[in-house]
């Protein structure tokens, strides 16, 4: 059984049906985190699972649509960060394919990479729109401190975002990994592209 090119734009119906579901999982993940009063957002588990199951493009689209929908229905600010979510989807989809989910250490490594990607993509947006802030209390406190010390705008903003993203993204990748491991193979295989053979 061969696996089609993971960058293929030929999306199967089930991969497309996965997208609304992954947005729903993002939403529910965030809801549960809030219900259990955990100190992290945990609002991108769906995007990351979609990337693990169906590849980088589906992950990216899930992330983008997730933010656009949040933007339309709740918090207009979220929509712009669709780019960040898309970048996360691509990163996870690509590195998952490259075998970065083989063991715990690599998974944590993936979490760190995702945090860095998220930060790098979000920082220019933060700077352009809100002068470098993120809206998170701890991050912005750090930002203010660094700006008071006349640090470069980019560095202050970058570290502001990194402080927020690092713990959250590592947690999210680990949680998605664990849940992915619990899914039966006959279910996960449906989302990857394969071909019909003759018996």
């Amino acid at each position: 059984m061969e696996r089609k090119n993971v960058w293929s734009l030929n999306f199967s119906t089930i991969s497309l049906a996965l997208i609304p579901v992954s947005v729903g999982i993002n939403y529910v993940g965030k809801l549960f985190a809030a219900t259990l009063k955990l100190p992290l957002w945990l609002d991108s588990i769906g995007t990351i699972l979609a990337a693990m199951l169906a590849g980088p493009w589906i992950g990216a689209i899930s992330g983008l649509i997730n933010n656009v929908i949040y933007g339309i229905t709740m918090d207009a600010v979220s929509a712009i960060y669709g780019i960040t979510s898309a970048a996360i989807g691509i990163t996870v989809g690509w590195l998952a394919y490259k075998g970065w989910l083989k063991n715990w250490w690599r998974t944590v490594g993936l979490g760190i990479i995702v945090a860095l990607v998220s930060t790098i993509v979000s920082t220019p947006i933060n700077i352009k729109f809100w002068g470098g802030q993120t809206g998170n209390i701890w991050g912005d406190a750090l930002f203010a401190t660094l700006m008071a010390k006349k640090a470069s705008l980019f560095l202050a903003s970058f570290l502001d975002e990194l402080l927020v993203d690092l713990p959250d993204k590592i947690a999210v990748v680990l949680i998605a990994y664990i849940i992915h491991q619990t899914l039966p193979n006959r279910l996960t295989v449906l989302f990857s592209n394969n071909k019909t053979e003759t018996l």
Partner: protein
């Protein structure tokens, strides 16, 4: 005229080592009502999905043999092309709702939009099918906010709107209450009266016995028997194969009447009653 021809069909799901279907061959005539029974994992659902092309085009896996529906070989046509000839209604009414439409009316029209049917015809077919399935009064309701039986009738309506010649229903009433079940069987019977060939997987054998012309009995991916209900349900190995015997046949068996009428037992409550009355006079019920 044969609507369904299957020759030597064998199929294996990806990652599986066993055959889900093994050397299936059968034919179905136009206008027949065929029931499929067998215990879980006997291949009933796989067979249904092979008729509409989901097997193999959706799952891939290993496929051998030929499946021809309304003159089309499923290997050579896409699922969307086959959808105009043969439809499939699934078990869970909830998961068949597309989620992209806000009213029952629009939901029925979804498949017609996909097929590029002209707007006037789309409206005509939608209206007809809503009335046929008795959900016209729900046309402006949100599809998620109706009862299970209504949702299943909506699923059937969405398929009937595509005007298929054959409709398959895979355990359509298993998630419904008795009222919902009756609604579905009534609807299916109306479809049969319109000349549509019906194939239905069911565990409610009493109902199946009353409506079906023939029954396919499956076990472990193979067809064990394909015959009239009166013959199938009189078999002694039904329990072993995980199939329930209709209660009136059980009653007749306990009275010893099955030995007296081998192969000719009635399959409806009414006929059973008549037979018992004939045997024992009219002070028995």
């Amino acid at each position: 005229m044969k609507k369904v021809i299957i020759e030597g069909l064998s199929y294996k799901y990806p990652l599986s080592s066993r055959l889900a279907l093994e050397d299936i061959s059968l034919t179905i005539e136009k206008g027949e009502f065929i029931g499929i029974v067998g215990k879980n994992l006997s291949g009933k659902t796989t067979l249904c999905q092979a008729l509409v092309g989901l097997v193999p085009h959706f799952y891939h896996g290993g496929f051998r043999g030929k499946v021809e529906v309304a003159g089309m070989n499923t290997m050579n046509y896409s699922i969307a092309q086959l959808a105009e000839k043969i439809g499939l209604v699934f078990q869970n009414p909830f998961n068949q709702i597309s989620g992209s439409k806000l009213t029952v009316y629009e939901e029925v029209a979804f498949g017609l939009e996909n097929l590029g049917i002209s707007r006037p015809e789309m409206i005509e077919r939608t209206e007809n099918v809503l009335k046929l399935l008795d959900i016209y009064h729900l046309k402006d309701r949100n599809p998620f906010e109706i009862s299970g039986g209504q949702m299943q009738r909506l699923a059937i309506a969405s398929i009937v709107a595509l005007k298929p010649e054959v409709i398959i229903l895979d355990e359509p009433t298993s998630q419904l209450d008795p009222q919902g079940t009756n609604e579905v069987f009534r609807a299916v019977n109306q479809l049969k009266e319109q000349g549509i060939t019906i194939i239905m997987v069911e565990h409610k054998v009493e109902k199946l016995a009353a409506y079906a012309d023939k029954i396919i009995l499956m076990s472990e991916g193979k067809i064990v028997d394909y015959d009239r209900p009166s013959n199938i349900f009189a078999r002694s190995d039904l329990k072993k194969l995980g199939v329930k015997t209709p209660i009136f046949i059980q009653a007749l068996q306990s009275l010893g009447l099955d030995k007296k009428y081998p192969g000719g037992l009635p399959v409806t409550l009414e006929d059973t009653y008549k037979l018992v009355v004939k045997e024992y006079g009219n002070d028995q019920n």
